[in-house]
Subunit: 272 residues, 2 copies
Amino acid sequence: MDSEFDRDTAVTLREPGVYDAELSAGWTIIQAVNGGYLLALLGRALGEALPHPDPFTISAHYLTPSVPGPAVIRTETVRAGRTLSTGQASLFQYAEDGTEVERIRVLASYGDLDALPDDVRTTAKPPAIPPREHCLGPSDGPAPIPGSSAITERLDIKLDPTTLGWAVGAPSGKGEMRGWFGLADGREPDPLSLLLTVDALPPTSFELGLTGWTPTVELTTHIRCRPAPGPLRVSITTRNLAGGFLEEDAEVWDSADRLVAQSRQLARAPRG
Amino acid sequence: MDSEFDRDTAVTLREPGVYDAELSAGWTIIQAVNGGYLLALLGRALGEALPHPDPFTISAHYLTPSVPGPAVIRTETVRAGRTLSTGQASLFQYAEDGTEVERIRVLASYGDLDALPDDVRTTAKPPAIPPREHCLGPSDGPAPIPGSSAITERLDIKLDPTTLGWAVGAPSGKGEMRGWFGLADGREPDPLSLLLTVDALPPTSFELGLTGWTPTVELTTHIRCRPAPGPLRVSITTRNLAGGFLEEDAEVWDSADRLVAQSRQLARAPRG
């Protein structure tokens, strides 16, 4: 528990199925609490409430913007099966009069990644990302994430220069964002931190020439394998920007060349 | 209401937010009720319960196998916003002693597809599927769907011959399934029928040389555009079969070459 991520996603049992939490200001982008960090908090609470430890698939619908400060997570065991359990969880914060305001609701099916057979028959290939030393982070020049964002200090992200055109005023026009991902304090990846990883890179809309906010409506993540220690590679793709919405498909690969997470989100496109 | 699909997905208000339904035996594969048909039923109930008409993103977790017969759908309005509403719904059936058994639970965000702007900036291209007259359906030779399946009579599916190797004992080894989709009685597509379309083709696992059941754990569908009248093209891809699970990514294109739906499901891989 000496990592920032574990400390800031800790939950405290209040009563069966109900957990108190504190949303840290350390995981904000501009003023918004990062959606992946929130998902990891909900994922941790469900892992404690359900009979199985690992999120296999978790679908989150984002309702109202979260702010740093106290929160409560209410979970429900929907079904407890032999190899999979399904649960629901909501994260609430408090209005000035003390009433609970729901921020996010998730449905998830949990299992035990360590109990899965070793078979892998995949045609997916790791993304073509240059070696880490040829990729760029906030300390390598003009800050690639605009504004003051506490989260950048907690992440060790190095972006593929071919997806960084937006940072120098020359977006590629392609809906792609790729890079290396780690936690700044060296905490190794696990299924919970993968829930952060899938929503931690700058939005693909930057490379489409759009600036401004890209709020997530819904984000579903499949955790397919316990990640090996070491840096992760993340590739995000948007193929369809239409009608004011876009999808972001993320893949996360571990140091052993395993596809460890797949996610898709529906987000509102920025107006810019 | 003279289409089989509309008749068989009808819901009747029992009390506010609660709808009675009858699962038709006409949408079964072997003995199982098709998951896309069930999703369309839940989608219809939520469209009646929420202030917005169209599913923008709907995430379904499948809990227990549904059977033809009576069901009840219980909905909850989670949040009603200006442009989006979020709702939850569960479909229950009845045990012998009359208690309700939950079959599926969904979380969904609804909006109004007709209120979206016309902007389209997409790099997605329609799938390369031969003309419909060069594709093959159940009446064109050896039945491509094994076993007796009532649903095949209600669908007008013509599969790309390059994804039909499995039907003649020579699966391609690629996790791909493509074809033309329509309803057999000519009922035109709409957002609700798209929820059926994304889960209506044979599983990609057949082309991976695996026979047997591929039960859905979770299925999330984004409806991106109201489909134009006419036949739909569906392309399904599996890239990662590992640890006994696989994902199926589906795209649905309409006759106007618009990407109208994107879905992804996590399913258990067959053992065969």
